[in-house]
Amino acid sequence: MTASGETAAAGEVALRVSDLTKHFPMGGWGRSRTVLRAVDGVSLDISQGETVGLVGESGSGKTTVGRTLIRLYEPTSGRIEFEGRDITRASGARLRRDVRRRMSMVFQNPSTSLNPYLRLGSALAEPLVVQRMGDAAWRRDRVAQMLELVGLDAAMASRYPQELSGGQRQRVGIARALITDPSLIIADEPTASLDVSVQAQIVNLLERLQRELGLTYLFITHDLALIGHISHRVAVMYLGRLVELSPTDQLFAEPLHPYSAVLASTRGTPEHRIIPAGEIPSPIDPPSGCVFRTRCPIARQRCAAEAPPLHQAGPGRFVACHFPGELGLSAAAHSARPQPADITFASSTTAQPQPVAAAPGPPHREKG
């Protein structure tokens, strides 16, 4: 918590999260009452125009963090400041104006996040209606403008979601997120349900929109290659805790937390891979002390006794580990796979580039 103020990069702080906790009651009374600690004491600052990648396994609490920040969930404790305002307990008109208009979410599955019975135009205009922005004519213009911004035809507004491909639907999902002119986008696995070639289109679109509109992104994903590509800083979560926060390059080159080292090693060659023992423990009954100790290759007695707090371990680097940097990567482990070589084509086939569109060319004269 003390460290979070210094984590901010050069830009102005857009979002400041201090000691955020979200517990879900799991039933039971009195002593038998059980609680799922989905998010436990997360502190994080995000600067204007920055992309912070949030990674972790399923069950690590990354999605809960995203949903609590946009206040789909009520935080159990802690503080969320957004654009200089405390939004931790905002409700009613304040919630709508200060949070929902300025912060929006892109969901994982564009097939289930769009209402199949609404034309895309109505689905896109809905946030504007809720926010009471503009009149019907203005909203129609705004919808058309947004569709074009994300690379779709404005005429798509009269279509239904099932007429679109997965990639097109996710473009609509992005257009809907941007329509109220927000400054922060929380993208929760936005490309996980798309094919690689379409994923690349969506990632390029998100990057272009960030440059053009100065957006701030919290990018939630389990895909490490993608997070390495898109984010400036990476926050690593494990079992509800933030275990490391570092600039992207440094996280992959010299991870400080053993769990970050495990993640960073999975993209290397198999000999250098660090595979942790066992599986992620239950967040209902987390281990004492450090939550990663049950799977950590370098765990010692101290790890079971005291929980390591998130502390600064270098410029811009924060880690929650008693022995940061001890489990390093061997030099060979972070050599990325080489790019494939170009194709050599037979020269007999190089002539006559085919026109891109099937435009009627001059009549082709054939001999004989």
Binding site: S197, L263, A346, S347
Partner: protein, 339 residues
């Protein structure tokens, strides 16, 4: 490539289904072989036909699907199989591991009961007690601690990674000659993914099990598979030893796919492939990738859909005519594409 001893062999296999929109061609003239003890990856995006090829090999396609060509598994042609022989083939010869382990197991039956059923379906002479012992044995082999306790557990009590191991064990109790895996790690976390792939690799080297893995993630499979078959629009685009295909692809689609994947270098744009694959309802003439290909020429419009062997690279095939046109001749003149 070995001759008649292939464990799996597809020869000019076509699969089509009739829908309200017309006839959908799911597989178009697909041929490939898997030798005993080999690990082969079928890679491609959704709709490429990789899962259809696996389902066709196991005769698990939906009723109404028309299959042409021949599919031979362990010396038996599976296309005309019916009744008892088909049941025995599915129970014993070839087994499948699906993407989602939660859906592959019955939620109301104990894990032990399902493993015993699987073992006795493959070998009806096995007693219940023997089948249970075999099941416990297999759970140990796939790395499940305390197998006896696990046999009494129900699927919801077990994590995803463990459940996928159990599904693999359920296939192994039948001692199949061929294991087909459809996106076996897609539903799992990265750390668990690595564990499952390591397990498959181990089973391959310990038991000599032949494995075919369908996947969309070339990076995940690169270290496991001996050979890689890249599919596009229901057809084979190229084939070859995994390392060679990854380092020197011989089809523009493979190259685009490899370049579209994000790597850790930030700051540069990802090389997206514009457009999308053709609909299975479309009639395809020439190369199916041509409309999205930056290297297309007039010859592509009349290119055959079937890959041809590359003369100078044994074990490799490519469906790109611009690559194979030169390969047929002896001293072929070459031209490098600009980087």
């Amino acid at each position: 490539m070995t001759g008649g001893a292939d464990i799996l062999r597809l020869d000019s296999v076509g699969v089509s289904v009739t829908t309200t929109g017309g006839t959908a061609e799911l597989l178009r003239d697909v041929s490939f072989r898997v030798a005993p003890g080999e690990v082969v990856a079928l890679a491609g995006e959704s709709g490429s036909g990789k899962s259809t090829a696996l389902l066709a090999a196991l005769r698990l396609l939906a009723p109404g699907a028309r299959v042409s060509g021949s599919i031979v598994v362990d010396g038996e042609d599976v296309v005309p199989m019916r009744g008892k022989r088909l049941r025995r083939f599915r129970a014993h010869t070839a087994r499948m591991v699906f993407q989602d382990p939660w859906r592959a197991l019955h939620p109301l039956h104990s894990i032990g009961r399902q493993l015993v059923e699987s073992a006795r379906a493959a070998d009806p002479t096995l007693s219940k007690a023997d089948a249970r012992a075999l099941a416990a044995d297999m759970l140990t082999r796939v790395g499940i601690p305390e197998p006896a306790a696990r046999l009494r557990a129900y699927p919801h009590e077990v994590s995803g990674g463990q459940l996928q191991r159990i599904v693999i064990a359920m296939a192994l109790v039948a001692s199949p000659s061929l294991l087909l895996c459809d996106e076996p790690t897609t539903a799992l976390d990265v750390t668990t993914q690595a564990q499952i792939l390591e397990l498959l690799q181990q089973l391959n080297s310990d038991l000599g099990l032949s494995i075919v893995i369908a996947t969309h993630d070339l990076d995940v499979i690169a270290d496991v598979a001996d050979r890689l078959i890249v599919m596009y629009a229901g057809a084979v685009a190229e084939e070859g030893p995994t390392e060679q295909v990854m380092a020197r692809p011989q089809h523009p689609y493979t190259l685009s796919l490899l370049r579209a994947a994000p790597d850790r270098r930030s700051g540069h744009q990802l090389a997206a492939i514009e457009g999308r694959p053709p609909s299975p309802l479309a009639t395809i003439t020439g190369c199916p990738f041509a409309p999205r290909c930056e290297h297309r020429r007039d010859v592509c419009a009349t290119a055959p859909i079937t890959p041809a062997p590359l003369a100078d690279q044994p074990g490799r095939r490519s469906a790109c005519v611009r690559v194979t046109a030169g390969s047929a001749g002896a001293g072929r003149p070459i031209e490098r594409t600009p980087v």
